[in-house]
Symmetry: C2
Subunit: 292 residues, 2 copies
Amino acid sequence: MQILNGKKTAKEILDTLEIDVAQRAATGKKVPHLAAILVGNDGASETYVASKVKACNQIGFISTLIHFDDKVAEQRLLEKIEELNEDMSVDGILVQLPLPAHISEKKVIESISPLKDVDGFHPENIGRMVLGEEEAFISATPHGIMLLLEHNKIPTKGKHAVIIGRSHIVGRPLSILLSNNSKPGNCTVTVCHSKTINLKEICLQADIIVAALGVPKFLKVDMVKEGAVVIDVGITRVPDAGKKKGYRIVGDVDFDEVAPKCSYITPVPGGVGPMTIAALMKNTFKACVERN
Amino acid sequence: MQILNGKKTAKEILDTLEIDVAQRAATGKKVPHLAAILVGNDGASETYVASKVKACNQIGFISTLIHFDDKVAEQRLLEKIEELNEDMSVDGILVQLPLPAHISEKKVIESISPLKDVDGFHPENIGRMVLGEEEAFISATPHGIMLLLEHNKIPTKGKHAVIIGRSHIVGRPLSILLSNNSKPGNCTVTVCHSKTINLKEICLQADIIVAALGVPKFLKVDMVKEGAVVIDVGITRVPDAGKKKGYRIVGDVDFDEVAPKCSYITPVPGGVGPMTIAALMKNTFKACVERN
């Protein structure tokens, strides 16, 4: 069994980006600039945005963090996005989700220019991903998982991948990416979800299992074939008085049980999580290159 | 075994649309108007466009057929589409594919306003379909198959659907629609394709099989579980001197062998084919209602 070390792979990707950015800067080219919008004071959202800004700073991207009160009017938010769309210095725009209930996430996402939509949530970018178009921005978690497979040379062609979860931001896009005619890709893909009846039976056929349903320790050892590759997308915060932060992050895989049976497995934390940041940075770099 | 009679179901849908259109007309509301563009003189394309125009006429839609020479400049085509986008009298625009090699299909498809893209090929509409949004135009073949399942009350929730083929216009969108949380939908879906290794083994698990790869008589009886629902999307033209047209249409399913084993099966012709026309008409009606 080998650990698919997302932290290490993400660092390699970020290191390469850092060199690429320095080269751009040295040759007088524009350096990527990510604008992140945070609304309100949700703890998890603040942590996520902070780690994105930190990654920007580490690798030489410019970053702007715009923090609105949770009472901000939807119109005010939309105006700010319009301003960022038109701002030539900004390459990528992200709005940290979820948003307060009085703001339409759909309206906000669709107001971001598809050319700056580095989170890949705009319908146009989702469509381009389905079509396998190069210009698509692919959302950070599925993109990060594809990068993790690619960098660690995990074979995918002809493999049977079973994805548990059909969310718009992980399961669904990943099912498309893994089955597209690309590299990595070309998997036979089964999408399972809450209405799936014989989940265990299907999982036992999988060469690659992606657990992306958000239920801690859901995937048990009796659902995994010997030698499978297991990708754990879960990041549930479970209260833990023993931890400084008062919680610990638990994945969707019962790691201790499942790991010995796998060929490769991602840990939580340190697996998919860091890869999402790396993917976002790659998207922002791409947006910068394509716009300039 | 029961035949899933697409011809009959399509007629029911068209009859209902005819009544709805007549009601709109009687109350002074706008009647749907479909503009179809045909480039060149490909026999199959001419037949398809003609049957779409015929359906419009039958149910009281207005139709405009614009026929360009196969030498038409891409720019001329794009200008015509722009004109149709701006024409308030036009609700739906379709460009019959394929186009001659000197014209970019991508550019042409993306030039159609997503609000008039009744073929559902624009990336924005594909994205909205993935997101399960009501406003999405879903392309005619997968939409037609979903309507066929719905009108014939074929249970889908929790069923295992195996789709052979991952094309942008059939396999891929259908895999998404069948696994979305909707009705019909909520299937566990496996997408198979040319790189799938154990196709037979996977097909034998299927409650619903969709053959959409374009290989005549590909699906054999030993690949089908007793009682499965089989949907045949194939429409290959095979030369046949005994037919007036010089060819016959052959599906992807070895019908004579497979049919006795099924609970339901679509014939070719008269199965999915007529449903695509019905779906296109429904899309055009929807475009008209939403724009007015």
